[in-house]
């Protein structure tokens, strides 16, 4: 327990940890501020003003169409020779909503904000996890620690536990603050209607999946940096994955007209995990013509269970490899 306490203290005291969390909080603050700034609560007055603007706009459009019709009659070549196509919009095509600052609808809009929170925290978790063990290896701090606690697996697993516990706490605190902040935004500049218990449950599950993503990112960053004994190993691996798998592989698979090529790319799996499912459409496949719906391309659905299994397997393999290498290697 003393080692766990020491490692938690070490993680909290690191300037890199404080700096990363501060950057994340600033970015989250900017997102929240931007959302608040670009949304406004609808009132009877704002709706009446918008209705009037929509009415004026429709009248303008009708007048423009009539003028264009008259000009077309004089010289049809200016309008492609077909004056019948010039028709004014119907009244219902110009709604008052187009002239109103949008409301922040908590039920509709907040799930996307949960995904943004989870993605940002996962990034922070990856770099903090990598730096936490990478800097220790690089500075010789790990060797020093092993002189005090010559139990390699216990030391590394305690470090990882401290990291994951700390990330869990950070996610919980920021997640609660994030929800509260957007509830406030929705109350002041939107609506919190239709938040049934089912909606809260769904939101809670999205948040839990976000928490899972954060922990997986932290564990993978930690594991790769420990295998490479340097923070840069994890960051290099991450850049390599992005360049090779996200850009290189995407281009190669597209050129090769591979089937469901998007399923080989990480964003599809992260999307499936956070949004419960992700549909990969095979645009390279021949059309399956339907009498009612036309060309139907085959679809492969990645479920959150499939994505979760993949992330769990990758985490176990990387952390397992980190444990195996620390157990076997000479520490010089």
């Amino acid at each position: 327990m003393s080692l766990f306490r020491a490692e938690t203290r070490r993680l909290t005291k690191r300037r890199f940890t404080k700096f990363s969390v501060l950057i994340a909080l600033i970015v989250l603050g900017l997102i929240a501020g931007g959302t608040a700034y670009t949304h406004a609560k609808a009132s009877a007055e704002t709706r009446a003003t918008a209705e009037a603007q929509a009415e004026n706009e429709w009248k303008d459009q009708v007048r423009f169409a009539e003028e264009a019709q008259q000009e077309c009659q004089k010289d049809p070549s200016k309008y492609g020779g077909n004056c019948a196509d010039i028709t004014p919009p119907s009244r219902d095509q110009i709604s008052a909503d187009q002239f109103m600052t949008p409301q922040f609808d908590f039920r509709e809009d907040f799930p996307a904000m949960v995904i943004a929170w989870a993605a940002l925290l996962a990034l922070v978790a990856f770099v903090i996890g990598a730096s936490f063990v990478g800097a220790e290896w690089n500075s010789g701090g790990m060797m020093n620690l092993l002189l005090w606690r010559p139990q390699r697996l216990q030391v590394l697993s305690t470090k990882l536990s401290a990291l994951l516990t700390w990330l869990f706490g950070l996610s919980l605190v920021t997640g609660a603050a994030w929800t509260g902040l957007f509830w406030l935004i929705a109350t002041l500049r939107g609506t919190t209607e239709k938040m049934t218990s089912g909606a809260w449950q769904s939101l809670g599950l999205t948040g839990l999946r976000g928490l899972g993503l954060v922990l997986v990112a932290g564990a993978i960053g930690f594991g790769v940096a420990s295998i490479g004994r340097h923070t840069a190993a994890a960051l290099g691996a991450a850049i390599g994955v992005i360049v090779v798998f996200q850009f290189g592989l995407a281009i190669v698979l597209e050129l090769a007209r591979a089937r469901f090529y998007e399923a080989y790319l990480l964003p599809a799996w992260i999307g499936a995990w956070m949004a419960k499912s992700y549909e990969v459409v095979d645009y390279n496949a021949p059309c399956d013509f339907s009498a009612t719906e036309g060309c139907q391309q085959p679809v492969f659905t990645i479920t959150w269970q499939m994505a979760g299994s993949l992330f769990a397997a990758v985490s176990i393999i990387i952390v397992g490899a980190a444990m195996w290498t620390i157990r076997r290697r000479d520490i010089t």
Binding site: R9, W148, I331
Partner: protein, 325 residues
Amino acid sequence: MTAVLEISGLRKIYRSRKGVRKALDGFDMVVETGQVHGFLGPNGSGKTTTLRTLLGLIRPNDGRMAILGQPVPDRLPQVAGQVGAIVESPQFFGNFSAETTLSLLADAGGVNRLRVPAVLELVGLRDRAKERVKTYSLGMKQRLAVASALLKEPRLLILDEPANGLDPGGIREMRTLMRDLSDSGMTVLLSSHILGEIQLICDSVTIISAGRRVAAGSVSEVLASHTSSTVRVRLEPGVDMLGAAELLRTAGAAITMEKDHFTVGNASNPAQITKLLAERQIYVSELTPVSADLEDVFLELTGTAPVDGTNRQVDQVVAKGGWGQ
């Protein structure tokens, strides 16, 4: 006297694409309780590999080790609390202060954090304890390393080059500290290149060369058993000293001329000197061995004495034969 540390037949082989290198080749060492034991060897001889292996950082290929009677590395977790160690250069996370570094180690090792100010005081870092380690000089980092090793009040203290980077005052303080710790009952294993220091403060020494033990015992025993093969030769007044020296040099002796005498540096059998000179009717008035210090013994045993006109490489041992055998 009981042994605090025992190493027997320790082997460590490094394999790489460039070949196989024996870092330790059946090395033995015994350190008795309450002693300050010097551990000497040239660069690359296996000193640090021995200490790292002993402390569980490197896996040996063969051999037995025991600390405080417990076999290591199997029982190392049980004895680690009684062993304070610094290995090679001091290594700490640069952005933490000395105080934070030590308090984190105290937490990790289950030591009371109240020990931290005491050890910082002991090594002279009290007033700089709140500064970040990366602002420290090498000598200050060395003091911090010693403080970290002393934090758990060990029964066995292992220090690898503790005087590295210290100023002369710091070296003297370190020497006094070692002696005080030893007097308080702590056993100190001290690896160092400063042979004068070792000779001053150590009760016993082990000398390692090319991964093997080449000498061990109390300092006086080691000096006595490896007496210098250098002898001082003084002739009767008026005798041609230059001619006599040339005669011996022709026979293979390593002559160094002094004002009123000369020395023969490789006189394994001094009788040859008197014999050769007597055959030419030259009689010596003084033929005395030149007493060796630890540096002479070290250079002789490890074969690392500089040779004029050559650049000795690390791992290179120069075989030194005696003249007149």
